[in-house]
Structures are given as C-alpha cells and as structure tokens.
Amino acid sequence: MEQNIFHLQYAMDTFYFLVCGALVMWMAAGFSMLEAGLVRAKNTTEILTKNVALYAISCMMYLACGYEIMYGGGFFLSGIETVDADAVLKSFAEREDGFTGGAIYSAASDFFFQVVFVATAMSIVSGAVAERMKLWAFLAFTVVLTAFIYPMEGSWTWGGNAVFGMFTLGDLGFSDFAGSGIVHMAGASAALAGVLLLGARKGKYTADGRVNAIPGSNLPLATLGTFILWMGWFGFNGGSVLKLGDIGNSHSVAMVFLNTNAAAAGGAVAALILAKVLFKKADLTMALNGALAGLVAITAEPSTPTALQATLFGAIGGIIVVLSIVSLDKLKIDDPVGAISVHGVVGLFGLLLVPVTNDGASFSGQLIGAATIFTWVFVTSFVVWYVLKVTMGIRVTEEEEYEGVDKSDCGMEAYPEFTNG
C-alpha cells in the first residue's frame, strides 16, 4: 500500500511538470504575438516564421544534444522512453531525504519542462533583431545557441558543473530559481551581440542624433502576447520549484504563483505611471513591457519574498525597464520590442534581488554568476554572429528592408488585403 502512495506522488509530480511545461510552451505563442504586434506590418510574416522555426529548432537541438550537455540526459534522449516501475519504487523506498525530499518523477516530463526554457531564451533574441536580420542567418544562429551556447551555461548553473573546471557557481552562493539570468539575461546577451553587429533599423536614428519612433503595427496582438506570457510564466516559475507532492513544496508552488502574479501587476502599474509622468500619455507598450519586467525581476527568486516584496520588486522592474528603453535608444541600440531592457537589464536586476530574501545566495555570488553568464553568452554569440556576418551575411539589403522582409524572405504578406503593400 505504501507503494501506491509512491505511485501517486510520482504521477502527481510528473503531471505537475507536464502542466507547467505546456504553459511554458504556450509562451512561444506569447513571444510570437508580442513581436508580431510591435513590428511594422511589412515584417510580420517573417517574425512569425522566425518564431515558429526557432521554437521547433530549439526542440530538435535540445533533444539531439542540448539536454545531454546540460544535464547528461543522453544524446537524442536515448533510453528516456522506458521506465522501470519497480526500480522507481525501490528508489522511493530507499531514499534518505524522505517523502518530503527531492521529487522522483518521469525523466520525460523533466525534459519536456526543460526544453521549453531553451526556446524562451531564443525567443528573446528574435524580437531584438527584428525587421532587418536575414531569416536564415537567424536560424543558423538558433541552431548554435540552442545546441551549445545555452546548454553550456545551463550546465554550469542548473547542471551544477564547474565552469571549465575552474569554479562552481553554486558554491559561490549563486542562485537563480527559474532563470532571470540563466534564461532571460542569457537570451538578452545573445541579442545584444547580434544587435551590435547588425546596427539599427534604417530611419530609426537620424544623422543629427534624433530618435525616430517606429510604431508597432498591431497593439492588440502585442497585448495578447503579453497576457500569454503572463499566463505561461506561472508554469515557468511555478514548475521551477521542481516538486509539488508534499505540503511544503506545494505551498511553495502556490507562493510562486502568487508572487509571480504580484510582480507582474506591480511592474505594469509602475511602468504605466512612470510613462504617464515622463511622456504625458498612458503608453500601453510600456505597461506591457512593465508587466514583463516585473515577471523577469521575480524570476530569480519567486518563492521567498512576501507578497508585498514581490509587488515592489516587480514595480521597480517596471521602472527600470522604462528608463532602460529610453536609455538604450539614446545609445542608438535599436531593439524594436525592448527585449534587451526587459530580459537583460531587468534580468540582472532580478539576480541581484535574490540575496535580499534568500539567505542561500550572496551578492558576490550573484555578480560572479551574472558575469559568467553574460561573458560566455555574449562572447560566443558575438563570434557566431560575426562568422555569419562575414560568410552568409546577417543583414538584408537596404531595398529589402524598405520593402519589408516579408517579401524578400517569405514572399508573403501578413495582411495582404489591408495595406497598400
């Protein structure tokens, strides 16, 4: 009879991963809609194609070798398809940490949950380089990031491996619960490298130094995308507790849901108010970025803050993101959707917040971890982008950019009947 309880706990924790994983998978739709809403109509088909393809490629590459590199899960997940129930029951019975200890669950559910994180990291890149990067160069980069760059830094952090055999981040007091740094800042670092090599969209910055706004073409889509991400984030953070099946852990999952929501709310309100003060208008796109910034800010540690702290952390994230977007524009770093600000700048902020509520983390550990992730991802990405630039080229021609990449790359307009395309 005791075994039946183990059966149920295993099933429960497996299901919990699957539900959370499905929610994170849903974030792929969120990024697609957010980005499709914030680019111009003439670049919409291409950004959609990028998003569908990057999600699919991420799944294939992480399955082929990424999971092996990060967690030693086997090339092509070999062997994952079978489970030996008796062996599992034995490991339940013999475990030392007891019923409330670490979870025992299906490896397949673990992979499913992990794979969607890779895609999230890569989705961040597509927004930042939108409207001017060649589709196939982008997809080539996707292969490298999801097969190698991300899994490597993942192996040093969540995987617990030493960084090139030198030091182990966990030992230094580094902690990143659900990936403010490991996923979000990493994606933003790759994006930054790409943007620097790619340059700004034509017409974004004038010769005399002014910034020209290039309004997004479809704000309902952008809003839908944000709500999808908000919802999906419950899986992203909630699943990162890694166990549901006892009182302590399930309470922890509940707190993570609560705090994730509170931080997003704080971020949206703070960004909306700040934008109103600065620009005299209720800037919807800033409110959306603010909600996402709140989510990124809490992601490094959503389980230990109180609800009030979570709201405040989110709100500060919302403020940071508005200031960061304006500042990056001053630096002529052109990021059509604000991805570098939301995921990079606020991702770092999220990492630095961890020691405030979690004694297991130290500021120095967080800084070293952030520096490690950034350096690794930025440098390797820069190299890959650079190689792509000098070989196949990463930027479309001026004429293609003027006409819109939908025509040149996809041969298909997103809204053929609506625009004088």
Binding site: N212, A213, D283, D329
Partner: protein, 112 residues
C-alpha cells in the same frame, strides 16, 4: 460641365454630403487622402521617442456638375465643410470635357 474637387475634414463628410443632396446634386465620389498644408502635423511619442506625423487625414470629394450649378455647389460645400479652424480644406474647379454613364451610354449632362 465642371468637376468640383473638395478636400475637407473627414468628420464633415456627412454634413457636406447632405448639404449637396439638398441642392439636388445626386452623385459624388469620395476618397481618403492625406493632406499637408498650413495646418501642421503633430509630434507623437511612442515608447519615449518622438515621431512626426506630417500628413493629416482628409477626405476628397469629386462631383461632376453642369456649369450652372457650380457657383451654388461651391458655396454649399464652403458652408457645410466650414469649422473656422485651420485645415478646413480647399475646393478646386476643373473643366470637364466629356462625361459618360457606363450603364446607358448617355453622354455629358444626361450622364451626371
């Protein structure tokens, strides 16, 4: 025959159409245009960056009429499209050499 072309503010379209009908003109053709003139565009902000809207939405009406109606029609449009604020628009009058009604093949005045 003359072709009266009027560029007006979009929200005045219904008023103008009704006023024109009242003086017996039965047909007209409308298109959406953008205007540039003394009424300057405005600066909008998007995510903290400025963004100049140079062209303002206007509506262009085209009405073909017999010569004897022209004066009254110009007057009617002037009145019904009037707000007194900058950007009210213009009326242009051209000479129309020929008109045909496709359905009947009728010509000129009968075609209007």
């Amino acid at each position: 025959m003359k072709l009266i072309s009027a560029i007006i503010k979009p929200f005045k379209l219904d008023d103008v159409r009704e006023a024109i009908s009242e003086i017996g003109v039965e047909g007209l053709t409308v298109s959406e245009v953008k205007g540039f003139g003394r009424q300057k565009g405005h600066t909008e902000l998007y995510r903290g960056a400025e963004y100049q809207v140079d062209f303002l939405p206007k509506v262009k009406l085209e009405v073909a009429v017999n010569d004897d109606v022209v004066e009254r029609l110009v007057e009617t449009i002037t009145k019904s499209a009037y707000t007194g604020k900058i950007g009210d628009g213009k009326i242009f009058v051209y000479n129309l050499e020929q008109a045909v009604r496709i359905r009947t093949g009728e010509n000129d005045v009968e075609a209007l």
